[in-house]
């Protein structure tokens, strides 16, 4: 029977270099079981118990039931010794985890053996999994998989293309390619061996010499097109080769992520099993923290006119209740391009040419159907560890652009209010140059779509970078940096109530400054700047510091300029919105991008 089954979800083991948190893979009784990294097996003593109701090894039965063609679910287990195997389903109601024991089997074998069990399906279960209890000493669990007996004729053909846009992140990209090669492409019976291609757009033009030639990897180098240009180039290349290699899906993928290649196999089988009506849905990868592999940043997000709300944030994926909560459906408006699997249907449009940041948001807002699965994820460095002062320009400008296209309820007044809030915050935290960049972003938005399209590029990025504040190594920042003070401000506890906050900030601004503070580079609280003369903004990841000082004159100039830009925004927002809406179809067409990327008529 097992020959007729398709292994749609292999049970995963912790992998050094990717994630080694056992509780993401299985939960075991350490007194009677043992597991060591590097040995894909669990050793049991009598009564030793292991549960597989974990983020990577539970099966999202409700999602599969909803989206995939109907089929029976089975569990395949490889073992040696004597076990009781319990098949368990889990439901989640009002914060409580409700387990159902679906079936219990006893198995025994002196040698390595493989056995298959059928799951009795229960509608109310969100996930199902199993537990193994050893019935004697020296029993060993060697692995397994969830299987289905779906009719292959009902399953669609799928070919995956990874669309990676990179800029000087060789270490990550090379590691991803190495893993793909070792775990997927070099394995003779890997289901993805002939169904995966990698398209890399190298914006830094530094990667190509470092990559060994692999038949399933294509690299193009280009310069000065930003991430939007990079991903767009990748999309064009993939669309061109789709017919030749049978590619049906493209996965937008960041260059600085950590990927477990075995996740792509799950993705592949899930996409193959999709019902016809869901084949144009986007499969989003959940975002986990690189430094805390068990912690989820988000599973999709809501744009909310720029006041982004992450979906399912800060879940601890070692906890069963959080895993179940993660299965609950929630409104998602966009999916970041760390892992965004998009079907290559006929009228798929290209990204909006906004150079950098928010291209993924805009892309998501036009395709609002997303699916998320536990276990389909990537790890990415925390946003707070990548502070780049130039971002504020693009974030401000592109936010207004995205809103003008997709948020009809957003107007000039709202834009002015949001800008004021952000600029004042920057001024209060002594980040005057960033405040200037914000104002410039808003002013540039007011210049209209044609101006942005004509001027956006590497030259502008370079100019902004020259203008942006510079961080210096900690050792060169001069006296006054205090690591203890930094840590106090890092875990900032509000000093005053929300009610008194504005008065407190205002007083801090008006009274003579006298203190020196060390604060985090990423989003410091204005509370920390009360009467502060000099500040060290510390970026812990690069161990660099931005040194700022309170400048009253500069602040006042900034506030005057803010008023001017606010007025401009209120006046021009509606007109610029019209321009973006009118040009949208053209800007997101292949024709536009081919011209912009200078691919020329003889491009093949």
């Amino acid at each position: 029977m097992s020959e007729l089954l398709t292994e749609i979800q292999q049970l995963l083991w912790p992998r050094p270099g990717i994630c080694t948190d056992e509780a993401m893979y299985f939960r075991r009784d350490p007194a009677k079981t043992s597991y060591a990294y590097g040995k894909d097996a669990i050793f049991f003593e009598l009564n030793g118990t292991v549960f597989f109701d974990t983020y990577f090894n539970a099966f999202s039965v409700s999602k599969w039931t909803t989206y995939a063609v109907p089929a029976e679910l089975f569990l395949k287990v490889r073992f040696r010794g004597c076990f009781q195997i319990r098949l368990i389903g889990y439901q989640y109601r009002n914060g409580a985890v409700i387990p159902y024991t679906l079936d219990v089997f006893d198995v025994a074998s002196e040698d390595d053996d493989e056995t298959v069990f059928r799951f009795v399906q229960r509608q109310e279960c969100l996930i199902c999994s199993f537990a193994m209890i050893a019935m004697r000493d020296n029993s060993v669990f060697l692995g397994g998989a969830y299987c289905r007996d779906a009719d292959m004729r009902e399953m669609s053909e799928v070919g995956l293309a990874l669309n990676i846009c990179t800029y000087h992140r060789e270490r990550f990209v090379l590691e991803t390619l190495r893993r793909l090669n070792v775990e997927l492409m070099d394995i003779s019976d890997s289901p993805l061996r002939n169904h995966l291609r990698v398209q890399i757009t190298d914006n830094g033009q530094t990667l190509i010499s470092k990559v060994q030639k692999l038949p399933w990897v294509s690299i193009v180098s280009q310069n000065g097109q930003g991430s939007a240009g990079g991903f767009a180039r990748g999309q064009i290349e993939i669309a061109r080769m789709a017919g030749r290699y049978g590619l049906t899906h493209m996965i937008f993928m960041d260059d600085d992520i950590s990927l477990d290649p075995r996740i792509l196999i799950r993705t592949y089988w899930f996409l193959r099993s999709l019902k016809k009506e869901y084949r144009e849905y986007i499969l989003g990868g959940e975002l986990l923290r690189l430094n805390f592999p068990q912690s989820q940043v988000e599973a999709g997000a809501q744009w909310n006119c720029g006041m982004v709300v992450s979906t399912k944030p800060n879940l601890d994926l070692r906890r069963l209740d959080h895993i179940l909560f993660n299965e609950l459906p929630e409104r998602v408006e966009y999916q970041g391009w760390w892992f965004c699997c998009v079907p290559l249907y006929n009228n798929l449009r290209m990204p909006l040419p906004v150079y950098f940041h928010r291209d993924d948001v805009e892309f998501g807002l036009r395709n609002r159907n997303f699916i998320y699965l536990n276990g389909v994820c990537v790890w990415h460095d925390e946003f707070e560890n990548k502070p780049n002062p130039v971002n504020v320009y693009y974030d401000t400008r592109n936010r207004f652009i995205v809103n003008s296209i997709h948020c009809p309820e957003y107007d000039g007044g709202q834009a002015a209010r949001d800008l004021t809030k952000n600029v004042v915050r920057k001024v209060l935290t002594q980040r005057y140059l960033e405040a200037k960049l914000m104002l410039r972003g808003a002013a540039d938005f007011c210049r209209g779509a044609d101006w942005v399209i004509a001027n956006d590029g590497a030259a502008m990025y370079r100019e902004l970078s020259d203008y942006a504040p510079k961080l210096v190594p900690l050792g060169e920042c001069g006296k006054g940096f205090d690591l203890q003070d930094y840590e106090m401000n890092l875990f900032h506890i509000p000093i005053v109530s929300k009610k008194l906050k504005i008065r407190y900030w205002l007083l801090g601004f008006l009274l003579p400054a006298r203190y020196i503070r060390s604060v985090p580079m990423f989003s410091p609280s204005p509370d920390s700047f009360h009467r502060v003369k000099k500040t060290f903004h510390y970026d812990s990841s690069s161990e660099r510091v931005l040194v700022t000082e309170k400048k009253v004159r500069q602040s006042l100039i900034m506030l005057v300029r803010l008023v001017t830009v606010d007025v401009k925004l209120m006046k021009k927002y509606a007109g610029v919105t019209m321009q973006w809406k009118a040009g949208f179809d053209y800007y997101t067409s292949e024709e536009f991008w081919e011209k912009k990327l200078d691919l020329g008529g003889n491009y093949e």
């Binding site: 912790p14 050094p16 270099g17 080694t20 350490p30 007194a31 043992s34 060591a36 990294y37 590097g38 040995k39 270490r171 590691e175 430094n291 805390f292 925390e382 707070e384 560890n385 190594p473 900690l474 050792g475 060169e476 920042c477 001069g478 006296k479 940096f481 690591l483 840590e487 890092l490 875990f491 985090p520 812990s540 990841s541 161990e543």
Partner: protein, 621 residues
Amino acid sequence: MIKIQSIVFPKSGICYVPDMCYRLVSVPQKEHTPYHFDAAGQCLIVDQGGIVFFDTYFNGLSVGKWKKYTSVTGFALSLDILGSFSVSLLHTKYINGVTVQKVLSAEVVEAHERKTVIFPFPDCEAVGAISFRVDSLEDGGVLFGGGYYAEAWEQVPRDIELALNFCNYEREEYIYRNMDNIRRYILDDPTCELREHLQIFVADNSRTVDPARLPENRSHVFPQGDFGGAGGFTRGLMEVLRDKDRFGLTHAVMLDDDILLEPESLVRLFAFLRFMRPEHWKAFVGGALLRMDHQYIQVCQGGEWDQDNYYVFHKEGADLTRLRDVLLNEIENGAKINGWWFHCIPLLDISLDDLPYPFFFHMDDVEFDLRNCRQVIHMNGICTWHEPFEYKPGSHLFYYNNRNTLITHMLHFPEYDAKRAKAFLTEALIPLVFTYRYKEADLVMRGIEDAMRGPNWLVTQDPEALLEDVLSQGYKKQELDALPMRLDYGRYMEKYNEAVFDQPVETKRHRFWRRLCLNGYLGKAKRDVIVSMYFLKIRSVYRAKRVLNYDPVSERGFVTEKSYKELFRLFKRYLGVRRLLSRRFKKARQEYLDAFPSMTNSTFWYQYLGVTQEREGGAGV
């Protein structure tokens, strides 16, 4: 592959703090502990289920610094083991207030007989530290040791010859102990590459070092009179520079006499210097200062000198058994100076014209670094243990510290003026006057007055006679029996906690009244208090009549008493010193600056030390 760091186990006689070497994970489900450390055999026995982390102060490898400062591009771990283990290679960093640890790779190894296994480290971020953990998969697994190796490098390792420069004054027993350790762990170890690249120089200010007790064929002893730390270190440095070509010396390591040295620190220093990139060849390498009593507590890892805040210690009080503090140590926050308890000076740019200033005692290292050092690199595992400063209180320090600080400020801070000097004087006097340490207040003022006499006065003094005179002017510690006050240890501890831990916290109202009545000067003194000789807070002496200043190390003390007469006398002298500063400061500064080159060259120093330029001494062994 070249070994750059050995796995360190606790060593009796040097440092027996296991948590500085490894962390044992408790296994509650086991009846007996699965760990046994064999101190004599220097091996760790781990039974099945035992997990040992080596992400510690001595056994992590500072990968961030190795990648930043050296040409090494690949690292490997070598383990000498017996039994079945799962070995995981780790990368650990401290970021945004949290410790982040990642398993880079893992491998199960089975050694049925003792063998050495190599584990190459995958590429990782250039921050924090790399290390490893072992999980024992069967009973009786033994870890004999091992080390980290450089597996790949971009530039050929350069030749390094280290000269250890000890300055001794009646601390020869410490020196012999360190020499025994160096002999045992470096010179007698045929696998240690440093053994052929080490010379030992001892400037013996007390003429008490027996050259026969130092390692043969590489020790050079220079007996001389008591010229203080400055005279001793300078003599050693001069001799090192003179022998630079003869032995091919590249670095001098300044070492205090009363330290306890972990020989592995020297081995690591040697390996680090070998691979250092050329652009960092002029960088100094500082050893962290650890407490001799609580060996896991760091006094400082370098620091910086500030004309307002003086010596600012970096990473002060770190508990080196805690992973967080070990990783915090990896963050470089711009250390500019390092004391001469362990300070490695490259001889590339140092000549016989760049010698220390003749301060006699204290501040010689600070002044030297302010002048010559642009960058100090520190690394976990490069350290030394030293008696805590509070164990060596003495009135004479007030004279030398204040005098030499003022001279250093005049020499190196052009913006330092008479006004700041007056503020410095006031700041130094206030705690002494309000704690009735009138003699020490006198010494502070004498130090300032002497500094104003200019460099000619400084060099014409007989340093030993001056020290005698200063000592005679200060307080003399006496046996407790001879004192008019009885030691009550409970009361002493109350004041100690008040001074060190600020417990109990003084209320604002109390502080206001205390300050209003000049800490009790404007009121009746009615009680006796017992305070620490070193740690003392003004508020501890509030309205006290007599104060017993107790030194718990020597178990002796002295008594001071409230005196209006002394107060007014000191005030009068204080006004005089202020006037002197107003009158003399500018001129004195110019004199110091003018005379400076002639006071830091070898001609001056030979004359000052009373030795001829022909080699004297050094013939020891």
